[in-house]
């Protein structure tokens, strides 16, 4: 059965956005058709490269939460787990455009790719220059030889942070794009799911897992993962996840990384810290230094139980951009 706190399922997204803007008017303003584009109140910022993003609802704070100084400028918002349409994406790009062009930065999903590409073509006919960077951090969604096919999950947060900080330095569109792509290339994430979520309009769980089962690598919409099996201890789960991440992108003594332990929705902070504790010990054992760890709810799948771990390998520039100031209700540095 569906046990959710809601009114009419069809108003789920509109009411979420209404509440988000009512709670944080200093961060978010609604625009576009049916108010489905959120922008920073001070956007567009003249002379700064704009950063437009977008995607389906059901993942807060991703995508729309990360608007603000040092982050993204505008976000097109779709129904739960559905891509926003071309027009909304074009509106988001226009809202982000302060004269220096706009980077389209979003997770790699088929519908979003097609719609954002078209939106880019549309605004280019209006003489707005745009570029694209698709976030592809989910190592479970395709092999290392097909990294461009990987989905974007919690690593999005690092990519917004880095691209936003780079844009704030006054860098031009090509430089912001190149740095955002380097951030994508430096990010690896893997998730584990314990229980499903329910899409309000469907009223049914997105997948089923046995009482004592977990699935490693499951996507944030319930896309199949790589391994389903009995639920393990926190340390065993963390070890399995770390092995997948380190196999995909090995780390060596002296490397510096940021670590994001992210709840997919229902998993409590306690369990995230239990996992973080293991990851921190393991990385220390490898001689790897952790910088600016993030632990909390950053990229969710509504009430899904589970978590993801992201390793973000830093170099000098990425580290200084990661530590640069940013401000939104869900991330302040």
């Amino acid at each position: 059965m569906m046990k959710k706190i809601l009114n009419e399922p069809r108003n789920y997204v509109a009411e979420t956005l209404e509440g988000l803007c009512a709670a944080h008017p200093q961060y978010f303003r609604r625009t576009g058709a049916e108010g489905r584009v959120l922008v920073r109140p001070d956007a567009p910022i003249a002379g700064k490269v704009g950063i437009a993003t977008g995607g389906g609802s059901g993942h807060l704070p991703v995508f729309t939460g990360y608007l603000g100084p040092g982050l993204a400028d505008a976000c097109a918002i779709g129904e739960v787990f559905s891509s926003p349409g071309v027009d909304l994406m074009a509106d988001a790009i226009r809202a982000a455009h302060g004269g220096a062009g706009v980077l389209r930065l979003y997770g790699n999903y088929g519908g979003d790719n097609m719609n954002f590409d078209m939106a880019g073509e549309m605004v280019e006919l209006e003489d707005i220059r745009t570029t694209t960077v698709r976030v592809t951090d989910d190592v479970a969604s395709a092999g290392p030889d097909e990294r461009h096919k990987r989905r974007g999950i919690a690593g999005l947060v690092y990519c917004y942070k880095i691209a936003g900080a780079k844009a704030d330095t006054g860098a031009d569109l090509d430089a912001v794009t190149a740095t955002a792509q380097r951030a994508v290339d430096a990010c690896r994430t893997v998730g584990v799911a314990l229980t499903p979520c329910i899409v309000p309009a469907a009223g049914r769980p997105t997948f089923t897992l046995g009482e004592d089962e977990m699935e490693i690598g499951m996507g944030i919409h319930g896309e199949p993962g790589v391994r389903r099996g009995p639920l393990r201890t926190a340390d065993e789960i963390a070890e399995q996840m770390l092995q997948m991440l380190l196999t995909d992108r090995p780390l060596a003594a002296g490397d510096r990384v940021s670590v994001l332990c992210n709840s997919l929705g229902a998993t409590p902070l306690e369990e995230l810290y239990i996992t973080y504790r293991y990851v921190a010990r393991r990385l220390a054992g490898l001689g790897v230094t952790i910088v600016q760890p993030l632990v909390g709810r950053f990229a969710t799948s509504m009430e899904m139980t589970g978590m993801s771990v992201t390793l973000f390998k830093l170099d000098e520039e990425l580290e200084s951009l990661l530590l640069a100031p940013c401000d939104c209700p869900f991330l302040r540095i």
Partner: protein, 204 residues
Amino acid sequence: MLTTESLRFAIGRWAECMPRCADELNALDGDLGDGDLGANLVRAAGRLEEAAPQLPADVGLALLRCAQAFTSVSASTYGTLLATGLMAAARLTKGREAVPWSEISTLLDAALRAMMQRGHGQLGDKTVLDAVEAARTATAGLDTPEALLAAARAAIAQACDRLRDARPRQGRARIFGDKGIGRDDPGIVALLRLVECLQPAAAP
């Protein structure tokens, strides 16, 4: 010459004629998909009609507005593909207020390439791409609207006949497999009706 005024004429014809084609297209689409193709095209024609008075004189920018009318109606693949084709034509005509009729085949060529790339479709898949290809070939070298429309209509009708017994290889229709054999592709028929609407003598 193709001007924004020509586009306004076409939009007026579609707004008038498309409602008469809607049931047929909904039924065809309903056999293999969700049955809203006719309704979506009627809504798109309505949006086009709303946009018509304010269309800019620049043919490219006017075509862009037309593309936006299609994308604003629904996220359907068909609307997205038509919008993609219109945008490809917009890129080639931007900055001009009159485009020679002899360029129509070239514009169709650009539209076809963009649509194939967007939808990862191939010729012979039994989709609207086959209809555009037929029109592109048939309109080469023609330079009056009457000749262009007559040639396009005949060629699309022929493509429709030729592919009737083919198996659909793209989109939702593909999933239905053999069920699509012997049935006309809704997207091809829709383009045929769009062309027929522009010919007063042939209009449905």
